[in-house]
Subunit: 447 residues, 2 copies
């Protein structure tokens, strides 16, 4: 299908905020909020040094919204959106993308669908029209559906052999029993085999609406031009969505240890418990605390104790994962089967020590120096800027978040850390799943 | 080892060229040539929007310089340079990189060793000192050597199963018999097992000198500061190198067809013959010609004939590879065993048609539009800018190349293409290697 320019509508551009910031990151990232005549909002960072435009978008609702028995639906649907649209089959659509040097990619995660888009300025209108077609007129042709289905079945088969995936699946089942987070994002061999064109088309229409949409654009485009393109590209999506309700749950508080026997010299160990939500006022102190505990790589306490002092493992990490419908604290270590028990003892002791005593001034200062100093590394390409800003939109942190973020970190005190550690860390409540042949450990009874 | 600031030497900065360009790419990339007091030259693109500095460097001489029987030496050596240096073992060195958020990576290709380096401005001096240590005092500790050796042996074992690698190895043996390009870059299980710490240290010293070095820096640094850091970082490398002489050869002109039987439903096919050097005056016309033939993805003639019209393969490509000591024209297609012969017939017919008739005005115009229009995509991050400029340094194209490049492409005529196609394309001289079970083809005698 050839691109036909629509009527040119005088764009009503509401520049609600055009912030010039003082810190170095912010100096490079001045964000405008653009609202189109049709009411679609995007954040825009104008950057005219190169003739390129990057767009990142995110829809709330991801693989978690797959109906039971149709697991893999959102994942497979996302993979098919650039495989033919409008009057173009997959071959023709991909050819057009290539001729125009346009990148379009869709991905499904548990909580979101995301879109990454990039075009040269000179092909901008044609590129946005290709995107419009993918969003509004995806074809789900039999050839493409069967080809992507085959690829997905291969990926699922490969996943079934992965100890990491087995450990994660077991952990989610133990931590969030019965919750959709326990279901496989890519689906199973059975569910993927059964998905139909009708399923895919209906699910795309349901998930990708204007209601659940966050958009950031970075590059060589002005607000008025963007406003027009927003309406042309996203304006025909359904206005509101009817996502299936997902229950927000807490991680099971019952400590347990589960072993999945598998012939391997090393064991993969996942451990964790309830975390905290992104909008919890303790999130930033918890984030700083976890840098000291297990998020800070080689300099973290877990790494020092498990790896440097005892040589138990090559790496050990811990993170807070604030998902949309559950908040996790989860860590991982891989170690020899003979040393799993000792590793877990060390990890629990470190959690207990931190919950009891907090951290030192020096640890806090090192964490702040690293976390604030490395923040610019998240903004060193236009794609990264757009990705960061969409994540800020998704988390509803506000258009001025990147101005405030480093001062939020700087404001954390050792008292904050002590309070948050005592509140959050529960070494005796850990849910542990192990894949391998660990020695000297017994499973706790599984209800 | 703690960083000790050396004497501060007043930098003699020779800004030989500070070019402000007119086209859009060039507007964003203004290159200075910086020469340090010690005589080390780098290209510098100052970009102060973010507090980051990127450095890319390239040494002439790569895996091709591995002595016979010590294949894998440069590859393994490169992997060890960030695994301990000065007074720091691998663990301590990697911890320091991580604390300072510094990226240092070395890679070995056949013709070059390359370095990618990135630091925050605030850690710049410490980061450059870590780089200095990697270059001048790499440790090659037994622990690190054995760990990297194990990883390399695993990679070699995996490569041995790869049909793509088997086809490539066979092609190089047929095209450049006896030449070092036929030797495996990663080495063999035998040669890698035998490499010693002494081999690694001596080879590093021999390959990484000041004579063979090209450097580009992009980011938040000025010329005077860079000049000082160049001397501190690279100044103690040996001044001149004594690389083993490598003979520059032509691809064997004798057509041949070699089949490596392997139970697979599809065959991997490589085809090619002599190409042309990067400094050949026909290189740009040949590059444009090959975009039309097989470099232009979905819109290329080979793709149209092999894939779109006949459905013989998912993709088919061709490229000119101007290596340091040989110039290749080489293409690849993967297709069902029953259709290999037909695919090869189609490919040969397309080479013959192009050599005979050249291309149309419309094809030329489409190629120019794409090749000039997409050029900015190579410059949309500081890393990419640095990588492009080092490649331009390596090819000795001159500091003004990015200003001239699009006009060189625009200047190509259909007559140029016809002349170059007639000169270069030799469908009857193709060297073809196939891995699979192709039907209806016979090997030509192998001398």
């Amino acid at each position: 299908m050839r691109y036909t320019a629509g009527n040119i509508v005088a764009a009503l551009v509401l520049t609600l905020a055009s912030l010039i910031f003082v810190t170095r990151v912010d100096a490079a990232v001045s964000i405008q909020e653009v609202t189109s005549p049709g009411g679609i909002t995007a954040w825009l960072v104008e950057e005219h040094a190169l003739p390129l435009v990057v767009l990142e978008a995110s829809w709330k609702g991801g693989t978690l919204q797959d109906p039971e028995g149709k697991e893999g639906l959102a994942y497979m649907m996302s993979a098919l959106l650039d495989e033919g649209a409008g009057e173009m089959d997959a071959q023709a659509y991909q050819s057009r993308l290539e001729e125009l040097a346009v990148d379009i990619g869709f991905r499904a995660s548990t909580d979101n669908l995301t879109l990454s888009f990039k075009t040269l300025t000179e092909n901008r209108d044609q590129a946005f029209d290709l995107l419009r077609l993918a969003l509004n007129e995806p074809r789900f042709d039999e050839e493409a559906v069967e080809r992507i289905r085959r690829q997905l079945l291969v990926a699922i088969t490969r996943d079934m052999e992965s100890p990491d995936r087995m450990a994660a699946e077991a952990w989610y089942h133990a931590a969030l029993p019965g919750h959709p987070y326990t279901r496989p994002s890519k689906g199973t061999l059975e569910t993927v085999a059964a998905l139909t064109r009708t399923d895919l088309a209906a699910h795309q229409r349901m998930l990708m609406t204007r209601e659940n949409l966050n958009i950031t654009v970075v590059g060589d485009i002005d607000a008025a031009t963007l406003a027009t393109l927003l309406d042309e590209t996203f304006g025909k999506l359904d206005a509101v969505s009817s996502l299936p309700e997902i229950e927000t749950v807490k991680v099971s508080a019952a400590a347990r240890l589960e072993i999945i026997q598998r012939e391997m010299p090393q064991s993969i160990v996942l451990f964790g418990h309830e975390g905290l939500a992104r909008d919890d006022e303790d999130f930033i102190p918890a984030y700083v605390m976890n840098y000291v505990l297990g998020g800070g790589g080689f300099s973290s306490r877990l790494m020092t104790e498990v790896r440097e002092k005892r040589g138990l493992a090559y790496s050990v990490t811990s993170y807070f994962y604030p998902l949309a419908h559950a908040s996790l604290f989860i860590g991982q270590v891989a170690t020899q089967n003979t040393r799993v028990a000792e590793s877990l003892d060390v990890i629990k002791a470190e959690l207990a020590r931190l919950a009891q005593d907090g951290i030192t001034d020096e640890e806090l200062q090192d964490a702040k120096t690293y976390l604030t100093g490395s923040y610019p590394l998240r903004f060193d390409t236009n794609e990264k800027i757009a990705g960061q800003l969409v994540a800020i939109q998704d988390a509803e942190l506000g258009i001025d978040y990147i101005v405030k973020r480093n001062s939020l970190i700087e404001a954390v005190t050792v008292e904050d850390i002590r309070r948050v550690a005592a509140r959050l860390l529960r070494p005796d409540d850990l849910i542990v799943t192990i894949v391998g042949q660990p020695e000297g450990l017994e499973e706790t009874a599984i209800e």
